[in-house]
Each structure stands twice: as structure tokens, then as C-alpha cells.
Symmetry: C2
Subunit: 226 residues, 2 copies
């Protein structure tokens, strides 16, 4: 059956929506990487750039949201397209919060740069790369409607949690050694916690993708995640 | 114009949805209060009860989500009903995460109860009450479609943030005084951080209510919130 004019328009709208989501995803991925580099390289200018760039992420979130609403209102989709659109609505919220967490990391960088370095932060970039990879995979799974790929993201969360535990324990030793380390150590701990939460947001997205593809709700099979 | 049979059915479905959301809200409010009581009164049984009760919150989230999807698919609403339904979809995610944060508080309670008390936790219940009040007000604003009430919630977030700052600074002094306090102080700090994030979720809900009522998107007017 050939596509009607309306079908083609509708397809074009869905494609535009997918592109917007990927663009938003690329922006927040870059924000994570930049924010961590601002911590490790003690770079105030870079940190400020992440803070300034958040307006663009917010604009894209609102725009993508409105595009979803407009497609829902005009096309009144059912079945798998309805699931795709309602999941897109939820997913942009997760992406925007990942952007906010990158801003929080950049804020901690600005605080840490006012003090002497506590230690070389070798663990954070590794953890950040793992969390960032989860976000990318979750979005790729979304656009390619690939449930296996989404499940793979869920499996990686344990690694990110283990990195957090390792960094937290190492920081405890710095705090116990010397009271003057405590404040800085709590700042670094926050950074690691933000990365862990970015991994959790990637898992939220991945769970929604499994639901979208399989119609199977796998949320809440494991323990509470935040 | 008298209501048709279909109109009445539709109204009944929307009422059912509102009731589900209020029920979910009541459950997570009780979870916040219970989890904080478990910390303050050092009550393992209560903490375990919060952990066990999370399955009910999760079940209600999935059920409410499915109700939204089913109304969207069958009724194909437009304008303000469409906004109501898509916001309900996003809002249940916030409520479920507030439930998860209460579980996280209960987990910290179980850890803290294994050690001697660091100090009497007089600040946490006050902060918890403020955060819990924000959640209740945000939901009341949602069901009564009251934008002024929602804006009031946003104004209260500063107070919750100030409580966090106060508790954090007090904990720093305990950490600096005595290395053996450090681990417990970081646990208590986490509890305060979870409460702060509960306040942020209430703000997310409140912002969505303003959008629903006024059609005006007030997200991202201020700083990044997580």
C-alpha cells in the first residue's frame, strides 16, 4: 500500500522527534564529559561553559515536549506509536535531569577549584565514561527500538554503582586522615554521586525502551533505584 | 447540554485517575514520614516496613501509567484534557521516585542503627515535614487545577534547601571533631540530601501544574534543579 500524503507527513514528524531527542542526548552527553573534565583539569572556564550551556538543554526539552504534545493532539496515535510518544515525553525529562546533574558537577568543580587539589581524580573520568556510555546506549536502543540493547544498559548499572562505592571509600580515608580534607572530599563525593544518578536515569530510559518494544513493563523488578 | 453516556464514562475514568494519583501521593507521603521516624527513633522494624511497602508504590505507578495510556488511546483527548493526561504520566514518575528516596532514607536508617547514635536528629524531622508538605500541596494543586497553589510550592523550595545547608554544615563540625564520626555523618548527610531531592520533585510537579492550568511553561526560569 503506497503512503498517503498524511502518512508521509506523520512519518516526517516522528523522524523530527527522534532527531530532536538524539540532539538533546548528544548535548547532555557532551555536558557530562565537559563537567568531569572541568573537575579533573580544574578548569573554571569550562565549568562556566557547562552552566551557560544548560539553557540550550532546557530549550530543547521544552521544544521536544511540545512536539510530542502536538503530534498526540493532531494524529491521535494508538498502539506502538502511542507508546513511543508517551515514552518520548517521559524520556526527555530524564535527559533534562541528566543535564542538570552535569550542571551540578560543574558547580562542584568551581567550588573545588577555589581550594588546593585534594588528589588527582583518576577514578572520576572512568566512572563518567561508563555513565555516559549508558546514556548513549539507552538512546540508541530507543531510536532503533532495540530491547536487547536496552537490557544491556541495565546490566551495566552495577559497574557504575561499584565505582561510586570505591570512590566513596577512598574519600573516607582522606577525611579520616586530615580534618582539612573533609570539605573537599564531600564535594568530590557529590560528583561521584551525580554520576551514579546519571547511570540511574539511563536505566530509567532503558526500562521504558523495553516496555515500548515488548509492551512488557520491567520497571521495579529489582531494588529501588533513584 | 446534558452529558451523554460516553461523556459520563469518560468523566468517571478521569475521576478514577485523579483518585489513583492521590492514593499514590498519600502512600509516598506516609513513606517519607515513616522513613524519617525510622532514622530519628532508630527503629529497624519501621525501616524494614518502608522497604517492603515500596512494592505497593511501584504497583500503583504502573497501574496509573496504564490507566493514562488506556484513556489516551480510547478517548483521544485534546487541549486541556490532553495536557492533564500527559502531565499525569510525568507526575507519577516523580511520585514513584519520591517513594524510592524514602526507601533510600530507610536504608540509611538501617545502616545508622548498627552504630551508636551520632547525635539527636532534631533537624531532620523539621526538614522532612517541609518537604512532605510541598509534595501534598503540589498534588492538591494538581487535582484542584490551582496554579497559585502550585506557585506557592515553588516558593517553599528555598526553605528546604536552607535546611539542607544547615544540616550539612553542622555535620561537617562532627566530622572534623572526630574521625570516628565521619562515616555516620555521611549517612545522615545522605538522608538530608534525599529530603532536598524530594522537595525538588515536588517543584517539578508544581511546575507541570502551572503549565497544565495556564498553558505556560515555567520550567527553567530559575537555576538548574535536580
Amino acid at each position: 500500500m503506497p503512503l498517503t500524503h498524511t502518512d508521509r507527513e506523520y512519518e516526517a514528524e516522528l523522524t523530527k522527534l527522534r532527531e530532536r531527542i538524539l540532539l538533546l542526548g548528544a548535548k547532555v552527553e557532551a555536558a557530562i564529559a565537559g563537567a568531569i573534565r572541568a573537575v579533573v583539569e580544574r578548569d573554571d572556564v569550562l565549568a562556566q561553559g557547562i552552566l551557560d550551556g544548560d539553557a540550550e538543554v532546557d530549550r530543547l526539552e521544552v521544544e521536544t515536549d511540545q512536539l510530542c504534545l502536538s503530534i498526540l493532539a493532531r494524529r491521535q496515535p494508538v498502539a506502538s506509536d502511542l507508546r513511543f510518544l508517551t515514552i518520548a515525553l517521559k524520556l526527555v525529562t530524564d535527559l533534562e535531569r541528566i543535564g542538570d546533574l552535569s550542571v551540578n558537577i560543574a558547580e562542584r568543580a568551581l567550588e573545588l577549584n577555589k581550594e588546593p587539589a585534594l588528589k588527582p581524580y583518576v577514578g572520576l573520568p572512568v566512572m563518567a565514561q561508563a555513565a555516559q556510555g549508558m546514556v548513549r546506549e539507552a538512546l540508541d536502543a530507543f531510536v532503533s527500538r532495540d530491547a536487547d540493547r536496552a537490557r544491556d544498559v541495565l546490566g551495566r548499572d552495577e559497574t557504575v554503582d561499584a565505582y561510586y562505592e570505591q570512590i566513596f571509600r577512598e574519600l573516607l580515608t582522606y577525611m579520616m586522615e586530615e580534618p582539612r580534607n573533609i570539605y573537599r572530599a564531600t564535594r568530590v563525593q557529590s560528583v561521584a554521586k551525580y554520576l551514579e544518578r546519571i547511570g540511574d536515569h539511563a536505566c530509567n530510559i532503558a526500562e521504558m525502551v523495553v516496555f515500548m518494544v515488548r509492551g512488557e513493563d520491567i520497571r521495579h523488578r529489582g531494588a529501588a533505584s533513584t
